[in-house]
């Protein structure tokens, strides 16, 4: 018994890497499809967009990069699906340098499905460096901050941008955020200053920090991590990456729980044995 505990206590970490690798891979090959319900913050995200009258304009800021794609790309796709179904006009900006190519792919994928035209139903304004300064600058004037779209066509020639000067001409803001600059800065610099509706989809790492904003109503909706994306896909009725990853998420969480349990049991029983011998 003691030998076994010694092995566990000094187990090479690479064995644990193998276990976790299996825990994440196997459910992908043998999908179980465990049911799950929708939590309030995600329902808030969905309902806030649903309540916007059809045809109005929405500002969507995609502040993420490939490093957080598995959690945030499904959210972007599903949000575009919901908005295009309601024929909402989407103006997209990116505050992370590596965001625009991902947004281009999402737009191409979903835009084609609902045959939406670039420049009429949606516009992709690309990236601007400056973090919070860009948000404040858009409060004064969006055309001055983004004189052209991602491909270089001047904003004055883009139909969807006619009549849009700043946040007052936009019904609400949808923010998909991976960190800084992201949801925290949109709440601090824009939501309270311009009193505009704001919903946010973020990585699970940053979700706990935004619950205070959800409780005060600064955020009308909050989606955290791949689970949030899966719940949102369930509401919109789409089978995306979020839902497909849920089984692997469940199994890997159980595995980490088991690791914590076994690690502690082995550590303390060994310590107890040593004290008994020396005591």
């Amino acid at each position: 018994m003691r030998k076994f505990l010694e092995i566990i206590n000094t187990l090479d970490r690479r064995w644990i890497f193998v276990f976790i690798g299996l825990a994440v891979s196997l459910p992908l090959f043998f999908p179980i499809g465990i049911k799950f319900s929708v939590s309030h913050p995600v329902q808030g995200f969905y309902d806030t967009i649903e309540k916007i009258p059809d045809g109005s304009k929405i500002l969507m800021s995609c502040d993420f990069d490939p490093g957080s794609m598995p959690e945030l790309y499904p959210m972007t796709i599903t949000a575009l699906e919901q908005m295009f179904r309601k024929d909402l006009k989407v103006i997209i900006t990116c505050l992370w340098p590596a965001g625009p190519p991902l947004v281009e792919r999402a737009l191409a994928h979903v835009g084609a499905e609902y045959n939406k035209q670039k420049g009429i139903d949606y516009v992709h304004l690309g990236f601007k460096e400056g973090k919070e300064v860009v948000m404040v600058s858009m409060g004064a004037s969006i055309p001055n901050t983004f004189p052209t779209d991602y491909h270089g066509t001047p904003v004055s020639e883009i139909p969807i941008m006619q009549g849009v000067t700043n946040y007052r001409e936009v019904a609400m803001i949808v923010n998909i955020s991976a960190g800084y600059p992201g949801t925290k800065e949109w709440v601090q610099q824009v939501q309270s200053r311009y009193q505009i509706g704001l919903v946010a989809g973020c990585t699970a790492v940053s979700a706990p920090e935004f619950y205070p904003y959800y409780q005060t109503g600064q955020l009308k909706g909050l989606m955290g991590g791949m689970k949030g994306a899966a719940e949102y896909e369930k509401l919109v009725g789409v089978m995306g990456l979020g839902t497909r990853g849920m089984d692997a998420q469940s199994v890997s969480h159980l595995m980490v729980f088991a690791f914590i349990l076994i690690g502690n049991l082995a550590y303390f029983t060994l310590k107890f044995m040593k004290r008994k011998e020396s005591g």
């Binding site: 994440v24 004189p147 699970a204």
Partner: protein, 207 residues
């Protein structure tokens, strides 16, 4: 072999190079890492050129908006850091940037994180449903106890120490929640990568 499949193969090989770091640091990882750092730096410059330099500075300047000379000069001053003799000039631009970010932080934190969070925690302790009253009690006691824990002008002794101890327990619940969510976040990153390797690259995933 279309460009698309060639791209997937190269992406998968580089992914395996990064994955090899788990076994131990090796030349493949070093190679992949340096390629990544180079590509990402080059990507940033090209993007700034097309998305900021051209539309926000060059075109207005060419269109005769001479006021744009000022940001061009301020930006150029930054590059004096490379020449020791005149590097103090770069402090003008750095001073401007630091000043703007400090001003923005003061407003953002002042309104969004200070005043509104206090407003959000002024909650009725009775006169509402039992469940909401219980929640409001926990929120109020928790916030007060944690603020007392972060109080440095008085020793944590006697009743003050007890309140601080309650505060640290609330903080532990906060950290526990953050740990759970961080595990969730990291696992979904790995799920995404295995989807890429098994699905896009090898195509052996059930549809």
């Amino acid at each position: 072999m279309s460009y698309q499949t060639l791209g997937i193969w190269i992406g998968a090989l580089f992914t395996l190079c990064i994955l090899s770091f788990l076994y131990k640091d090796n030349p493949f990882y070093k190679f992949a890492e340096h390629v990544f750092v180079g590509i990402s730096a080059g990507y940033g410059v090209a993007l700034q050129f097309h998305n900021v330099f051209l539309p926000n500075l060059w075109r207005p300047l060419m269109a005769g908006n001479l006021l744009m000379i000022i940001p061009l000069i301020m930006g150029g001053l930054l590059f004096t850091r490379f020449f020791a003799s005149i590097s103090w000039l770069s402090r003008w631009s750095i001073g401007m940037l630091i000043g703007i970010y400090s001003g923005i932080a003061i407003i953002g934190f002042g309104s969004g994180d200070l005043v509104l969070q206090i407003h959000g925690n002024l909650l009725p302790l009775w006169g509402t449903g039992l469940f909401t009253a219980l929640n409001n009690w926990i929120l109020t006691v928790g916030l007060i106890a944690c603020l007392v824990y972060f109080f440095f002008s008085k020793e944590h002794k006697g009743s003050f120490g007890v309140v601080a101890r309650i505060g640290i327990y609330f903080l532990m619940i906060s950290f526990g929640a953050s740990f759970g969510y961080t595990v969730m976040s990291r696992m979904s990153l790995l799920i995404g990568r295995f989807y890429y390797l098994y699905g896009d690259w090898l195509g052996i995933l059930p549809q």
